[in-house]
């Protein structure tokens, strides 16, 4: 059977979905790319610059937009994927607006949700004005203005690692992988924009797992004087001068430490997305103990689901950076094409 003119539904138009759709279209397949938001792009749309080289996020957005500019791709926006069932030789995909799409295969690329920082009550997100998330700091970078809620230039900024990751109290034992290097990148950006400021990262372990991450960490110390304190922040409050006060153990000094901050940035982790969860439940797709989609094999079946004709791409299976997400999406395409050709 010819591999040409097959129809594949890609659920989710973030980095993984856009790359998968583009790669399939390039091979001559017909693709229905379904994105729940008004525009494709996913979380990348919020991001200003990327680690480890500070390249503008726009460059990757531009690449992905060009990737899906293909006559073989039909883009559905403002509607999610509710259910995928294997039926005969096909998969039947139900969109949230009721549309049914019959296709040869489906790739799930429903991505992740950022951890809702309100669930770590002790950090005061949503209570204190100057407690913000890493994503909100990116928006400030986009606007070219890093200020406190009342418009002042912060003289001291604290960055808290592992918010919603590696934390049994919020039912997330997994590491979100990218937050450590995001913290380092954002610390440098703050120091570049506000050379008079002091920046402190509060970490438990520095997980610089990717190429040039460790170098970025080193650069943050050598060139930008970013400070690192090893300890998990236990609580934040506000004093009479409306400054944040945090408590942490400086574990390397072996003593509790108190510090006033003008702004605290929470490195929110990645969780299985809500639409992904509903899709899993409706479609009988297995999930792991970390609640992400469970792949058929961690080592050699990392794009395969437990439903015939349904494949996974990107962070719907586990936290990943953009590089790994794009590679994972390309691997999902290879598995999908192999499946279609072998039927």
């Amino acid at each position: 059977m010819s591999a040409a003119l097959k129809h594949i539904v890609v659920a989710g138009g973030g980095v993984a979905g856009m790359e998968a759709a583009g790669a399939l279209a390039e091979m001559g397949h017909r693709v229905s790319l379904v994105e729940k938001e008004k525009n494709p792009g996913g979380h990348l749309l919020q991001w200003h610059a990327l680690f480890p080289d500070h390249r503008p996020a726009d460059e990757v957005k531009h690449y992905l937009n060009k990737r899906i500019r293909n006559e073989s791709i039909t883009l559905y926006t403002g509607t999610g994927v509710e259910k995928i069932k294997h039926h005969g030789h096909e998969v039947v995909v139900t969109l949230s607006d009721g549309t049914l799409i019959n296709a040869d295969a489906a790739i799930i690329a429903t991505g992740f949700d950022l951890f809702d920082a309100r669930r770590k009550e002790e950090y005061g997100y949503g209570i204190y004005d100057n407690v913000i998330t890493s994503a909100e700091l990116e928006e400030m970078f986009n606007a070219g203005k890093v200020t406190t809620a009342d418009g002042r230039i912060p003289s001291r900024v604290g960055i808290v690692h592992c918010v919603g990751s590696r934390d049994e109290k919020v039912n997330n034992n997994h590491c979100s992988k990218v937050c450590c290097v995001t913290a380092v990148k954002q610390a440098i950006e703050i120091r570049k924009q506000l050379p008079g400021s002091e920046v402190f990262c509060f970490y438990m372990d520095m997980r610089m797992y990717g190429p040039y991450y460790e170098e970025l960490y080193r650069e943050s110390q050598e060139v930008y004087n970013v400070n690192y304190i090893r300890g998990k922040v236990s609580e934040a409050s506000v004093n009479i001068n409306n400054r944040l006060v945090i408590k942490v153990e400086d574990t390397l000094a072996g003593r509790p430490l108190k510090m006033e901050l003008d702004m605290m940035v929470l490195m929110v982790g990645m969780e299985m997305s809500k639409p992904g969860t509903l899709l899993a439940e409706a479609s009988g797709l297995k999930r792991g103990i970390n609640r992400f989609f469970e792949t058929a094999d961690h080592h050699y079946g990392n794009n395969l689901s437990n439903v015939r004709g349904v494949f996974y791409a990107g962070t719907c299976t586990a936290p990943m950076n953009i590089t790994d997400t794009i590679s994972h999406a390309r691997a999902a395409v290879a598995e999908t094409v192999r499946y279609i050709n072998s039927r």
Binding site: E168, M204, G231, K232, V233, G254, R255, P256
Partner: protein, 119 residues
């Protein structure tokens, strides 16, 4: 030369600061681990110590105490366990879900047993 005669010459012999893992006594660790298995989960983030009521004013440090237990460093441990007031605030922050308060209780129990040669 005995220690007392060394003192006459203005010298003292310092006790070794080495953690000698081969001669230290890990019976307390084994007892604590058996009675409170969550003890093994500590990854030394210091959240407990940051929030500790006793630690603001005394040298009590639960994170360090856990390390003493793990390494079999009994002498500093004996002093450390008496400082905890068992308020349990540390329980509320521990990201690994260690039953921290019970670790202190079980560690004191282990020390009492050790002193009576019951471990």
């Amino acid at each position: 030369m005995s220690e007392s005669s060394a003192n006459k010459f203005g010298f003292t012999i310092n006790p070794s600061r080495l953690i000698n893992y081969d001669t230290s006594d890990r019976k307390v660790r084994d007892y604590v681990t058996m009675k409170e298995p969550s003890f093994r989960l500590c990854f030394a983030c210091g959240g407990c110590t940051a929030t500790c009521t006793a630690g603001q004013y005394t040298s009590f440090n639960l994170r360090r105490m856990n390390t003493y237990i793990r390494r079999g460093e009994i002498t500093p441990l004996i002093e450390e366990v008496t400082r905890c007031m068992l308020c349990g605030k540390c329980l509320l922050v521990c990201p690994r879900g260690v039953n921290t308060r019970n670790v202190v209780a079980v560690a004191s129990e282990a020390i009492r047993k050790l002193e009576r040669n019951e471990l």
